[in-house]
Symmetry: C3
Subunit: 209 residues, 3 copies
């Protein structure tokens, strides 16, 4: 568990970095604004999950190291700003590992609080992607998850796999790594081969009111 905790802190710090890099380009310019957006990006998903589940104290109120991880991430983002913008592939990899980790952690937390499997899968996915959705709402963008190559869907698929294996009593650590890997694999495949989900419905050209 110690290693997983370390990963969670690293994941949080990483999401703060990625939030800060996006923030700085689009809508905030000073230290406060950028840190604020990094904070929401990193902690928004987990906070929403905890609030929806009524699990108090929520993650960063309980453990202040998550706040430190975010501050650390923002400072790194500032110091290595130019470098980080060039490291696209590394950033992409970290983001992929981050959503894989957060999905499984969120799913497990919901299960441990007595949620059913459908709710747990949704909560796992929320943990991973809602920080980004809140960031996009704050910065006045259409959330990226509505458009991008398969992203939240990879999280959902991994959460569903985790739950299946969970009910078949697969060893927890094995399940953790298997389901996490599936999320990362789907996401990487989606980007490499430019896969996207089927369109909901072709536009009919009808006006909508």
């Amino acid at each position: 568990m110690q290693i997983q905790y370390l990963f969670e802190l690293l994941g949080t710090g990483f999401f703060a970095i990625s939030g800060a890099l996006v923030a700085n380009k689009k809508s905030a310019s000073d230290w406060f604004g950028v840190t604020f957006i990094g904070f929401i990006t990193a902690i928004g998903g987990g906070s929403l999950r905890d609030v929806l589940l009524g699990c108090y104290p929520i993650v960063w109120v309980k453990d202040v190291y998550f706040v430190y991880a975010i501050l650390g991430g923002t400072i790194l983002a500032s110091v290595f700003y130019t470098t980080l913008h060039k490291l696209r592939k590394t950033m992409f990899l970290f983001d992929t590992l981050g959503i894989a980790l957060f999905t499984i952690v969120g799913t497990e937390k919901a299960l441990s609080l007595g949620a059913g499997p459908v709710t747990a899968a949704i909560m796992g996915m929320f943990s991973a992607v809602m920080g980004g959705v809140l960031r996009d709402m704050l910065t006045n963008e259409i959330p990226i998850i509505f458009h991008k190559e398969i992203y939240a869907t990879a999280c959902l698929a991994g959460a569903v796999l985790y739950l299946l294996l969970f009910y078949f009593d697969v060893n927890r650590n094995l399940n953790f790594w298997l389901s996490g890997t599936v999320i990362a694999a789907i996401r990487i495949m989606a980007v490499r081969y430019n896969l996207s989900l089927p369109k909901f419905r072709k536009d009919t050209g009808e006006p909508v009111t």
Copy 2:
């Protein structure tokens, strides 16, 4: 109560349909994005009400059938997409019945949790309209309730009527139907006769900072 529960599920499914139809036009195109927006539209108001009241587990965590109703609604929206876009009057009628139902249900829930009448009326209105507000925030629109013909105000009026009759010990079922009908009637009148609330204040032409 059985029938009311069925109505609540139907109402949730219907709001998911209406969310999915709007979503698809404006800001999301694939299955995930549309379902996500349908989900928020359908469940956002009730979730916000439960979170603000501290009523855990919140409605769809407690009862997974609400999630199924939303998935069903989204699938229907996809299959009957063209038809549904043409059924404007039917859609309008369902929406009107939906907000009437959700307002009264939300008001009753707040009351049963010990909220005072003013809070209960606000919570009832929130239950009915905040899903749409969250949908509009997600899709980067100015919320429709700030502009449209009398909508949320009809919910408020119905909630106030419900509370008045409640304090005069009117039979609960009678009250439910009376207040719900008043909401629907106000809404239908407002659209038919193009009624809107008085303007807050004429624009003075002064610049605002």
Copy 3:
């Protein structure tokens, strides 16, 4: 404490006035929309703080006078609309006093609920500024706190000072006035001398994906 409670009600009413004045210009025109935006502006920060801390019933559910203060503020905003728009300096002063008060009250509330100092400072700042952030999200604006002269940072600074003095056992009332004054002073200085925080990082001109 009686006087502080009165100040809190006045502060809430004032934020409703300021929310209503902004709302009316930009995105809502009828009474309902303006009152709704005034409501969110006035009560959003405190509600978010209470929900994140799991402190139920939240402030305006517990004490309906906060709702009355908001309604009173909205009515005043309508009646004295033109006058209030001209009273820029007065409005600015009230806003400054409001954020100072709300920051300290929020910090104290978080502390009393067992939050650590870092969380308490964040919650204090959230109490003061998140109502405005929610208002900006609702009205489809980039939140003003990402751009404006030092605003939320003044709140953070005051909260940190409060916590320092708190841990040095400074008398509570003295601490309250000292820390509040520091927030107001920083804010007034920032506007008078047009101070802003350092930029996060110069734009590199690199495209971001």
